[in-house]
Amino acid sequence: MSALRLISNRTSQHALSNSDYTWEYEYYEYGPVSFEGLKAHKYSIVIGFWVGLAVFVIFMFFVLTLLTKTGAPHQDNAEPSEKRFRMNSFVADLGRPLESERVFSRQIAEESQSLFHFCINEVEHLDKAKQSQKGPDLEGTIRFQEGPRNSGMFEEDLNYLTKFNIPNFVNTEQNSSLGEDDFLISEPPIILESKSVTHSSHRILD
């Protein structure tokens, strides 16, 4: 067995023979690099990198918080009647099964489903606390609903949605005819409100 010279990872370089294979973790050989005549500080790239990384992360955070702030003061000034009108027409759109509006309403329904999915955790807790007995079909649909739920990225942020009651939105979705995705659309109303659970269950079972 050839003698192996092992270099500890604290000290500087040692002379090595050509037949040795040494496996070091830290090994600094100073090679042909010379540090003569440097104009800038030798740690400039190191410092520049870390400062740049920190500045970038902080900048990203401020951009994101600014995104949250824009629109919020504008929202206070907007007329509530105008918003209500927009919401009503939007709700009416969902009821009409025209081809182009079907696509539009499907998109809107898809987007809204995503938010409702985030509340599943919180609402399930509420449901389990309030109702001890549930039909087997409901269990199945609720469990099915857990699939697309993401792993809690926004669940704490949007948990206030569980307290909302948006009956127009919910009922119109139940009435809209969107083909193969029907049974998916009718599920969130089950999750959102404990009162509407029993009401909606009849729709599914029928």
Partner: protein, 314 residues
Amino acid sequence: MLTLAPLRLLREPWNASEGNQSNATAGAAGAWCQGLDIPNELFLTLGLVSLVENLLVVAAVMKNRNLHSPTYYFICCLAISDMLVSISNLAEMLVMLLLEHGLLAFRASTIRHMDVAIDVLICSSVVSSLSFLGVIAVDRYITIFYALRYHSIMTLQRAVVTMVSVWLASTVSSVVFITCYQNNTIILFLISFFLFMLVLMLVLYIHMFALARHHLHSISSQQKQPSVHRSSSLKGAVTLTILLGVFFVCWGPFFFHLILIVTCPTNPFCTCFFSYFNLFLILIICNSVIDPLIYAFRSQELRQTLREVMLCSW
């Protein structure tokens, strides 16, 4: 030295040609960059913490039948990759410590094979960890933007195919990388892979955040509760900053190191950056420690299952 280990080549790229044994300190002993001395205990502690955390995540996902869905399978695979990252780094450190203290004695060829094997494991776990971060971002994107069709897009079969192909691709590519490590194109490929994942995650998460903010706007305009809207948006911004910030801080330095190796291997400024290589490895292990906290343990269900797992076993 007969052959250089690939990781060592990353540390001193000016020594790329074999036989270049010039121990020329050239009297510049005071001018070289000292770098950072990472104690072995820190490596050991971080590696063990990461191992335990990721094992708990895997156990929790396997135990709870509610978590048998593609989303949680991807989180479980991320936990397995992080576990392999910490195991392989720990293995390298332990073997080197044992060799150093003379407790293990092998032939030179055996040591070289062990070195190559452990480096392949490190490289494949790093590549698969990055890939699963991107896959989780894509999965969350599909959950939000294609919510109604999620179950038809992300079937269990497709999820399994995705996981198997990611593992296969990372293993094969790391074997190729480690066996021909002297080629600069390998490093360029790794850098471009990292940049692709970075851009993918940035775009997907910011688009998701923009949609969530848009929905908060429309809903809060109905309910007239702007203060709640603002605090929730702020929480969303904090979550996103943590997700992306941890990604940048933990992976960025290592890949910047690779960029500098390709662009300026003999520049004295770049050499000072190379001297911090161990810190960059520590940051990658830190990423394995932090990933379960920001991905897996954000889910209520998984936290509950984790509590059950820990109470049952203790």
